[in-house]
Amino acid sequence: MHKHLLAAGFAALMMTSGVSAQTLNVATAGDQNMVDYIKDYLGPMFEKKHPGVKVVAVGTGPGDGGSQKIFEKLDAQKKSGAASDFDVVVIHQKAAGTMVKDELLKKYRDALPTGQLVTRDTATNALGTDVSGYVMPMFHSQTALAYNPDLVKNPPNSYAELREWVKQNPKQFGYNGIKGGMSGVAFVTGWVAAFGGDAAKLEKGPYDPAVKATWDKALADLKEFNKNVVITPGNAGTLDMLNRGEIAMGPVWVDMFYTWKAEGKLPPTMRLKLAAPGMPGQPMYYAIPAKTGQEKLAAEFIALATSPDVQAEGIVKRFNWYPGIDAKNLEGKLDQAAWNALFADITPDALANNGKPFPIGPYFNDILESYEKNVAN
């Protein structure tokens, strides 16, 4: 069914294309805030610099599912030999890898003026696939442990310390399992990376189906660990319970954490901790479909979106995401307060050391399913 709905959406999109002299179609996966960001902030800015150009943003739905829909559309157009409807796509890591392998994207980054500002290795490696040149990170989002310093004087520095802390403070740690949003998933993959053996292999591959058997001990421990934790309802549920003082600590998305704080939904005293060996985060990528007819305009759009000014004002200040380009390029563009707010708890160093990518696709699925089988059931 959803394909038909999507088709209707695309049809509506194409009808609007004829109106302006030039239309730049931007398809984005993710929540509504992604669409709003392009429609209300980036689009108008780009249109001002390029008179006669109209930016049209279309959302394809949250999570990997949204990126999957973009993939399905581009794939179908490639197979039928049609030109692409999208000029710029905003996608998750998993789909980016697949699209690069299937040659659905242009290799554009090397020619991009802002291309050199990127330093993180997620710009070249998307869950095990080499994507260098094909993608530009729009932002990084990161998971970390949020805690209430009134209740937790010395936050755990590692997963091992956390395990001890939970033993001594039962029902004070909460996370949302793996069905209630990605912050819980991030916590679980972090756990497997910490206690399950070869963490690097999970990030880089190659995939070996036998590896999952080595996680049994780690997952049995997690089941034990779960007896003393609260399973919260969703990403927001963890923050809710932190806010009400019902739990003292839990994994959250950093951007959500800051947004809630800014909106007064969390006390300003709340702090973050990125425990060793690390918790995963993920970028969203800007990419250009191979069959677009607006290659130049698309590249200019991405160049604007990844310029230090836009990254500072739009990504960091507005949405509390970590910048897609190296943070040091933002110094001077950002007032000190905004800079401090973002990097006070998690220093750029800590982010570099403990900010991990998610495991590669097959391991990722194996972790989720093993969790369902061994921990949840």
Partner: protein
Amino acid sequence: MARPSFFGLLLIAPALTMIGALFLYPLGYSLAAAFTEPGGSLSLMHFQKAYELYSTDILFTLFIVIVSTILVALFSVAIAGILTLGETPWLVGALRQLYRWPLFIPFIVAAQCMRTFLAKNGLMNNALVALGVMEPIQATSFLDWRGIIITFVWKQVPFVTLMLAGAMASIDPATIEAGRNLGASRLRVLIELVLPQVAQTLLVGLVLSFVTMLSVLSVPMMVAGSQPTMLTVDMAFRINSYGDYATANALGVISYMIAGTVAWIYLRHNVKREAQA
């Protein structure tokens, strides 16, 4: 009259097509997907997987829905009973005005409200503490299986009550008076004289509630954590995270079977009644 005319068929064709396209086809498709393995041959492998991963959740779902149905029955009988047998006009009036409200609130909004209401430091516990009924230290969060049950009951009681109160209003009021006249308290009148006369309606309401609760996604997703959780959440997760429609469909078939069992109990009761009449 007996021979179907061409125009008659033409008239119902759109409806038939709709049922076929929007209901029968997807149903058949999901059944087929649940019972075939990737190669295309028949297999129970998806059920085996569903059992391996979600046996706890199957039991949890049954537990939640059965307990909720029982509570819905108790509450709706009590409310409909007060509406029918109550003798305090302002109480009956107020109850009649109030009880329907949750009917007009969607499950997802109800779930959202319950999240703030039932939390450890939520509205309910705060009110109880403020009233001096409870010490702050005793406050516990109800955002687990209890929260799901409370939300379901809160949402479904008005529905069943509406049906039940309507049925009770249409029985001969003299049958109630005859009971009281012979010395039956209002409680006995409700249980021994009124309820048996509206049992059919109660059963229908409960069956519909049972199936509704079985199929709600938002409440278990929002009110409680995911371990354990209800089958709807597992189905959504299976699709969203793995794109695994086969196992999701197998879980769907398990839901059909649970709903089907209830429907069968209902039908059997119906047949028995008709045989007696």
